[in-house]
Symmetry: C2
Subunit: 558 residues, 2 copies
């Protein structure tokens, strides 16, 4: 799919991944905010424009392959008068004190002075400090403009030696995760093996309605399987009927194709906020375990009908099970959904083979995955190997012993997983993506521009998002960007929103004053989010959907 040039770019990102991840692990979240806040709030006008643009750049950002190709084809400036600088040196230049250097191709650039005037805000450009720009430029299509190239050219201070330009992936034949694919260095890694990672909040929201595949959150339970699309076969079994085997070509040729924009969210999204109440067992997800994609595939109901399932039958086969091809020594991943969802002509359950117009990336289930819109991500089984229409639900570990909700008073000594239903539809949720935690609010501004996402399970669209900066004494109704063409009862994709929230009287203009902004969404059933995490705390840390709160600090700095 990628040209050899682009493969080089991807290899490059493997090295910068190390650098940026190290940075992130130590202080990146802090840098995102404290350092980035001035850029974010000192110039309200441009910030507003950027926010507005953020809602419409999705298509450009999602173009993906085309964007990569043109980045790759742009010739790098060669300046033979400039010194050679080693990658290791660049990696030492990540702060204002040392100077902030970045790499593009074989060029090394000092962006220290440029940061304050970066149109996308200082926090964005700081993600690349000490490493490569390309992985980030691919996400922000506006860097394709000549203007960006010209600005960068003026900041060049050196050239990487050839051996630092291409960095080969470390081989790991003995590691079950050794054949996992490359990932984007911007992702915040919650677990490396199996790989679980999420985009930073501001990157997620800047990407707009459709999340680029590279930064779509990754939630793998097992190593990523290597599947040959030529020999791939999907087994479809309707209990009591003959079994059907379909090749990838069969799937694509025998059934009509559908495109569905759908948000997928991990049950553990925002778990870190629940962990702050009391420890839970689970990965410490921030608010980025949610992403939105234009999926292309065939309808599950069509495939079931082809395999002999009677769609009009309120019969004994009440579940549709999915088995993944990802497995370890003891088990494969799997799960099931109720048959009413599986066969609902308005339920839009897909067997997807494209993600934002590209073949599924390996991390997202290549060559075929299930996409169950409106339902917890855990049921959208990747690397789909088998479908079974059955009387009972899946007996898989992740259906029976995980992804269920319990009372805050149930602990690991008392839990009985059989007493709760497997999570299917998720509750209403929202989060503030920008500003990020501990960002600075300019003492010279009266309002704070706030942006975020809101979404609810079951296709229930978002009807309102309320934002407060004074603990709920006053609420500001956000401006919504609902998913186009998706009515309130079939809104599979999130609603992005923005609000201009007044700085509370007590904090306005007061250097060092602390404040907190919070949001809550209401969905088409007028369900809304609970205030606090403690009453919804549960031992697995799933279903975190209380108000999202972001602490901010007023700063006098220009």
């Amino acid at each position: 799919m990628l040209s050899s040039c682009c493969r080089s770019a991807l290899r490059l990102s493997a090295s910068s991944q190390l650098a940026v991840q190290t940075l992130r692990a130590s202080s990146c979240r802090h840098l995102d905010t404290a350092a980035g806040a001035r850029g974010s709030y000192s110039s309200k006008g441009s910030r507003r424009a950027a926010a507005a643009a953020g809602l419409v750049i999705a298509a450009a950002a999602a173009a993906g392959a085309a964007g990569q190709a043109s980045i790759c084809e742009a010739p790098q400036k060669q300046d033979s008068d400039l010194p050679t600088i080693r990658r290791a040196d660049v990696q030492q230049h990540k702060t204002k004190e040392t100077g902030i250097w970045v790499i593009r191709g074989d060029g090394v650039y000092d962006i220290t002075e440029f940061i304050a005037s970066h149109p996308g805000g200082a926090s964005k450009i700081m993600m690349a400090a000490g490493g490569n720009l390309e992985p980030f430029w691919r996400l922000y299509a506006q860097h394709e403009k000549q203007e960006a190239h010209d600005i960068l050219a003026g900041l060049r201070i050196g050239t990487l030696p050839a051996e630092d330009v291409v960095v080969h992936k470390v081989s790991a034949a003995d590691d079950p995760f050794g054949k996992d694919p490359e990932r984007h260095p911007a992702l915040i890694v919650n677990s490396a093996k199996p790989y679980n990672a999420e985009p930073p909040p501001d990157l997620l929201i800047d990407a707009g309605f459709t999340t680029p595949n590279e930064i779509h959150y990754k939630r793998n339970h097992l190593p990523v399987p290597e599947i040959d699309p030529e020999t791939y076969r999907l087994q479809v079994e309707v209990e009591g009927k003959q079994c059907v085997r379909l090749s990838l070509e069969d799937l694509k040729m025998k059934f009509p194709h559908y495109r569905v924009a759908a948000t997928i969210q991990c049950a553990g999204n925002r778990r870190e906020e629940m962990m702050a109440v009391k420890p839970v067992r689970g990965l410490s997800w921030g608010l980025g375990a949610i992403s939105t994609t234009e999926w292309t595939g065939v309808r599950l109901r069509d495939v079931l009908a082809y395999a002999g399932f009677d769609l009009n039958e309120d019969g004994p086969l009440q579940h549709v099970q999915f088995e993944g091809l990802d497995r370890d020594m003891t088990q494969a991943y799997g799960g099931s959904i109720p048959v009413h969802k599986a066969v609902d002509p308005h339920g839009d359950v897909l067997l997807a083979f494209e993600m934002n117009g590209e073949p599924l990336p390996r991390d997202h289930g290549f060559p075929v995955r299930v996409v169950v819109p409106g339902v917890v991500g855990a049921r959208s089984v990747k690397w789909l190997g088998k479908i079974i229409a059955s009387t009972g639900e899946s007996q898989n570990h992740w259906q029976q012993k995980d992804y269920k909700g319990f009372s805050p008073s149930v602990d690991w000594d008392t839990v009985d997983f059989s007493t709760a239903p497997a999570i299917q539809e998720l509750p209403v949720v929202s989060a503030i993506c920008a500003p990020t935690a501990h960002a600075l609010v300019s003492a010279h501004e009266d309002t704070i521009p706030v942006r975020g996402y809101a979404w609810s399970g079951g296709g229930r669209g978002i009807v309102r998002v309320d934002v407060t900066a004074d603990g709920g004494a006053t609420w500001h109704t956000a401006q919504l960007a609902p998913p186009e063409g998706q009515p309130l009862h079939r809104a599979w994709a999130w609603t992005l929103w923005e609000a201009e929230v007044p700085v509370p009287e007590g904090a306005r203009g007061k250097e060092g004053a602390k404040l907190e902004i919070a949001c809550k969404a209401t969905d088409a059933s007028y369900n809304t989010q609970p205030e606090l995490a403690a009453p919804i705390w549960n031992l697995r840390g799933v279903l975190t959907n209380h108000w999202h709160r972001v602490p901010l600090v007023v700063s006098d700095e220009e």
Copy 2:
């Protein structure tokens, strides 16, 4: 429908209605609880048995007509040695100090000493103090047993004069509400004209799964129309097609009948709790503006298809409007639902003509009403006159300018009703029906038996109810009685529940100690209730679904 004997009984209730309503208005809520608590909690064993029975007596209580007939036919004891007592005298005997008297037929009974041993609890029997027993006995089928008759016979102290036995209804030819039907005196009247009333919480929960028609909450927007079932015609219009007119007989003969158990809830249920935060415009409903019925009727989708609507068409007709025959000088009641709900074969929308096996009572839409399961009561239009499948939604006042939710910061000066969607599906709710507010908890008991209901819109069944007696520090998972035969995605009827909640350490055995119990439910989408009313406050006081809290007092009395 009723025998002439039963009509007399109903007339009787008109007089006792006055008496009991006066009582209720002054102190009945208090009596329900403070006086009733000892009966409720001093004998845990029998109380538990009663609670268990409460979950299964629905069928018997719902028998209704049969029960009335046998009450009416039972000969009253005539004891010529006893004195004549006037109704006005009886009405003066409602307290322990004066003695507590009640009437049945022409008999007057002193139940003062009996109250403490009343199997149903003291609060129940106190509702009839100073008035007639019959309206209450009709609700509790166990009074049909000879034992109840024998006990009462032993308490007789006098005989009503003939002129006090039958009280004629006051005629009111000039009153638009003058032809409204008789109502059950147990109902708490929030508005007399139009009539809006709810059952007391403990009566509601004691009635069990199916609420008897007489105490089903009544929510009328206009006078109750008088409709002749012989000349009644339902007009069905599919925009662009010919109009169809159906008689009641047509409806019953042309289409298959369906029975659906569905809970209907007013958008304003529990509004009084929201009013406690800040005034709203609306009736002060307690927690009883919700009831459950076995509805019988024909499917809306079948009638629409008969009128020429293409059920498989994702066409331009996206709404189904309903117009009621209830009207005043300026308008009729009406509303609409989205077409996807109207035609969904699993949506179970009925044109109902029977309520718990009886023809619809006049207050509930005789002869035909809509029942939209899982949706706010406002769309289940009563006295149905017209159905229109249309491109746009109903322009009726109650669809456009009412029954919508807004942010707590929107007031009557700033509200723009066009910015919010009409409420359709309701959010998850639960409430504690017993004990009632300010009830006494025995200082000699370690636990409190708690009972209530939980329900959610959209057919989302209840998966858990949590109850706390210590402000949420510990939660007790209630035992659920989900609606039989209704899966979690098609649970139109409520889930009744009960829990045995430990008295908190600090209050246990301490005379006068105050405590508060609270409940919250979780539905099949794992949506749960917000903690507080303030963040969901809205100017119309709809959608109150925060945790339900009940204050209690520990008492040393036996």
